[in-house]
């Protein structure tokens, strides 16, 4: 087989073809052009909007505090920033529903590329213990969030962070072949480009008020009760049946087991976040969120060897006492089994702002 002749060189032509293909892919999807017109309601589009809001937030003269987290992170920055004068802290958030520490690593890299923007970063925990049912390391939903944030250089770390070969394959696709992962979004864009562009423009104009300053559910679980012996829950009548089933399930499910997988996952990704900020002025504050509208009576004692405790004892993070927000674990402050309602969010934000202000005040003065 003569691959190279005087006139033709097969390897050169095919190599050039691959090079051009990756150049086209990069031109369309790595320059930020396509990411700017992603469907705002898609997972990746939603994340991009959130990150953009934070990136565009002007940095004031106060200490900058950023919250990461998922939908349980009850910080309402609008509320926390009402008392900036007292706390000396200005709060931002990139807490996006459904995200996990792996996502937070890449999200932080996006909003704070030089690791010099924040005085403190708040990392929320459901529990300091490494308790989980789910196998977080193999969570494929992370891919949907992270598509726009991944770079070619992320290939080994990101791909190998997935234990299963199926998800490693998908992760490699997300890193290398951007067009492939945006395929559905791109085809939807082609179906009605004008509508998409209008929606994106509208989103850019109003995203802050839609997401950032939005009011949360004002209803509460006030009046609910749990009979832990009979394993029955009485819930307020306004809860729709699906939400009712979900709330009952969450409240009554067995305590999550300590998971070695989860310990290792937290070590990897929280460790990576902390490593990235090593030697910077940014301090990491771990906090346990209010656990729910009611707290089950048979909770096991806290595990002193959890990853969060290990990071704290190594001096890499500050651990807020785990009972700091216990007073907020009341039905009237929750909209469902997991999430604070508007009032709960207000109370939590005020408390958190005060705690963080106190914590940071002796260490650093206002800039």
């Amino acid at each position: 087989m003569a691959l190279v002749t005087r006139r033709f060189s097969v390897p050169a032509r095919l190599g050039l073809a691959l090079l051009l293909f990756f150049a086209l892919d990069a031109l369309a999807f790595r320059t930020g052009w396509y990411v700017s017109i992603l469907e705002p309601n898609s997972t990746a589009g939603f994340l991009r909007t959130y990150l953009n809001i934070e990136k565009q937030r002007p940095i004031g003269r106060y200490r900058q505090v950023l919250a990461v987290g998922d939908s349980r992170m009850g910080l309402k920055t609008r509320v926390a920033n009402l008392v900036t004068g007292n706390t000396g802290c200005e709060f931002g958030t990139i807490a996006v529903p459904g995200t996990t520490p792996r996502c937070w690593y890449y999200m932080l890299r996006e909003v704070d590329p030089r690791c010099d923007r924040y005085d403190a970063i708040l990392v929320p925990f459901d529990s300091y213990d490494d308790r989980a049912w789910e196998r977080h390391a193999d969570r494929d939903l992370d891919l949907n969030y992270l598509m726009p944030l991944l770079r070619v250089t992320d290939l080994p770390r990101f791909v190998l962070s997935y234990p299963s070969w199926t998800n490693r394959g998908r992760a490699a696709e997300a890193v290398l072949l951007k067009g492939l992962v945006y395929q559905n979004d791109f085809q939807a864009f082609l179906a009605s480009p004008r509508t998409r562009l209008q929606f994106v423009r509208l989103q850019e104009e109003h995203a802050r008020e839609w997401y950032y300053d939005a009011a949360w559910d004002r209803r509460s679980l006030a009046g609910m009760s749990v009979d832990w012996n009979a394993k029955t829950v009485t819930l307020p009548v306004w809860l729709p049946p699906e939400k009712r089933r979900e709330t009952e399930h969450i409240l009554l499910e067995d305590t999550k087991p300590i998971s070695a997988d989860y310990t290792s996952y937290r070590r990897q990704w929280l460790g990576a976040i902390l490593d990235r900020y090593r030697g910077t002025r940014t301090r990491f504050i771990f906090l346990r969120l209010p656990r729910g509208p009611v707290v089950r009576p048979d909770l096991p004692p806290p595990d002193p060897n959890s990853m969060a405790c290990q990071f704290a004892s190594a001096g890499r993070a500050i651990l807020l006492p785990e009972h700091t927000f216990d007073s907020l674990e009341r039905p009237e402050l929750f909209g469902d089994a997991l999430h604070l309602n508007e009032e709960g969010g207000y109370e939590f934000s005020m408390m958190l702002a005060g705690e963080i202000g106190r914590l940071l005040a002796p260490a650093q003065g206002a800039r």
Binding site: M1, A2, L3, V4, T5, R7, F8, S9, V10, A12, R13, L14, L16, A17, L18, L19, L20, F21, A23, L24, D25, L177, G179, L180, Y182, Q183, F186, Q187, L190, A191
Partner: protein, 462 residues
């Protein structure tokens, strides 16, 4: 293992490496083993059927070699044809005949039915086998004495399951005078594989979604615009699906040093149905011409015999595709159109005239109508859709705008290929032109290639 799956490409790379790494005498063994493995990935048991047919036809040809012309030689031919048609008839047509018999006897439709799995590619490899035996009988083909060579001819994996139907003389000319493909041939083969993938994944599978939605429930999409767009979506799907497969088969074979005949030549640019059949599934239409139409008398015995022969050939061609009345009607429809064009004296012309675009559009519409019988689940559905094509309400087009633009781009490329033959020039074009073409194809595949569950090729069912 479908051509457009990562598993197939991994398989092909292994075959390619072994093929070129091993000494020449071992290469046919590698190809035969790979071909049987390829088939066994679908269903291991049915490889025995291929082996059995191979043994029968090989033996029949060897007998013919020893026998002088006469009744014994003819008996060997008949035995071989009976075996091929017997297997084909049983696997493909038994349930069709049993269902019709049950209908005649006023019994439930499945009264005599058997649970039969149709062996993949049986229609293709039996026709290939039969052409060899007939050619040997006619003295137009030398008998192949090496059973491995003959087995490879029948089972060669690039064309095993959906053609093109390769004539023995072409295949053995390549096998016995095999020479390594040069750089130009490898570049052409690679281009064909990439084009084939693009046709299949980016166009055929996109339009398959539209066609599936329409044909699954035609009544849910009222109006003639919906009906025409659904029907044309299938016309596009079947062409790009089958020609995409064929391009890949030809390209893969070329990389291995084998040359398959052209199977499609831009059929939707045909100006008549006669011309359409010179451009569509060429390896089948020439097979039907050489082994059915001409032996029936062709056009040598007057007008009416010619029309009869055309009808018979196309009816059997229809039945070859599948065992249902829909396929019989499809074949009959084409036979009738071919006869009508003869009656009207429509002849193929080399030069294009100003009215030819209209003729192309008319031929495309006529071909599209025929695909209704091909795709609809039942005869009743076919008739319903036909009526809907000319219903009063207009409804709405089922396509998205960008799909229309994509097809128009493909049409422009086809017209340019017809006029300038750019495709054959591409491997010889400057490196950056060739590389850009491949890169653009890959980029389109990345963006538009259907990346859900692999959709099987339409012609695999035949």
């Amino acid at each position: 293992m479908l051509f457009h799956t990562p598993q197939f490409f991994a398989f092909f790379v292994v075959v390619l490496v072994l093929f070129y790494a091993l000494p020449r005498p071992a290469r046919r063994w590698i190809l035969l083993a790979a071909s049987y493995f390829f088939y066994m990935c679908w269903n291991a048991k049915f490889v025995l059927l291929i082996v059995a047919l191979t043994a029968i036809d090989y033996t029949a040809a060897m007998w013919m070699r020893r026998l002088p012309a006469g009744s014994k030689r003819k008996a060997a031919l008949v035995m071989s044809l009976a075996a091929n048609l017997g297997f084909l008839g049983f696997f493909k047509y038994y349930n069709f005949l049993a269902g019709n018999l049950a209908w005649v006897m006023a019994r439930p439709f499945d009264a005599f039915a058997l649970h039969i799995i149709l062996p993949m590619g049986i229609s293709f490899h039996t026709f290939q086998s039969m052409s060899y035996v007939i050619d040997v009988y006619r003295g137009e083909q030398e008998v192949i004495t090496n059973v491995v060579d003959y087995a490879l001819y029948i089972a060669f994996f690039p064309q095993l399951v959906a053609g093109p139907i390769v004539r023995a003389r072409h295949f053995f000319a390549d096998l016995y005078d095999w020479r390594a493909p040069d750089a130009r041939e490898i570049l052409r083969g690679t281009l064909l594989v990439v084009f084939g993938l693009l046709k299949k994944l980016a166009i055929a599978d996109q339009f398959a979604r539209i066609a599936d939605v329409f044909f699954r429930d035609p009544a849910a999409h009222p109006g003639y615009l919906a009906a025409w767009s659904g029907v044309i979506a299938f016309s596009i799907q079947i062409f790009f699906d089958f020609s995409g497969y064929t391009d890949m088969a030809i390209g893969l074979a070329q990389i291995l040093g084998f040359h398959f005949p052209e199977n499609f030549r831009r059929p939707y640019l045909a100006r008549s149905i006669t011309e359409f059949w010179r451009r569509w599934h060429i390896s089948l239409s020439t097979w039907l011409r050489d082994y059915l139409y001409i032996p029936l008398g062709g056009n040598r015995h007057g007008r009416w015999q010619t029309y009869r022969n055309l009808m018979l050939t196309m009816l059997l061609g229809g039945l070859w595709h599948g065992a249902s009345w829909n396929f019989v009607i499809w074949g009959g429809y084409h036979g009738a159109l071919l006869s009508l064009e003869r009656i009207l004296g429509i002849r193929e012309r080399q030069r294009w005239s100003i009215f030819d675009p209209l003729r192309v559009a008319l031929t495309f519409a006529l071909a599209s109508i025929s695909w209704i019988f091909f795709r609809a689940a039942t005869l009743r559905d076919s008739v319903y859709i036909l009526r809907r094509l000319c219903s009063g309400a207009h409804g709405h087009i089922l396509w998205l705008h960008w799909q229309l633009w994509f097809v128009l781009a493909a049409l422009v490329l086809a017209v340019l290929e017809e006029s300038y033959g750019w495709f054959e020039r591409l491997p010889e074009a400057p490196a950056w032109v060739y590389a850009s073409a491949i890169a653009v194809c890959l980029f389109c595949l990345e963006l538009i290639g259907f990346s859900g569950r692999a959709v099987p090729f339409v012609y695999f069912q035949f």
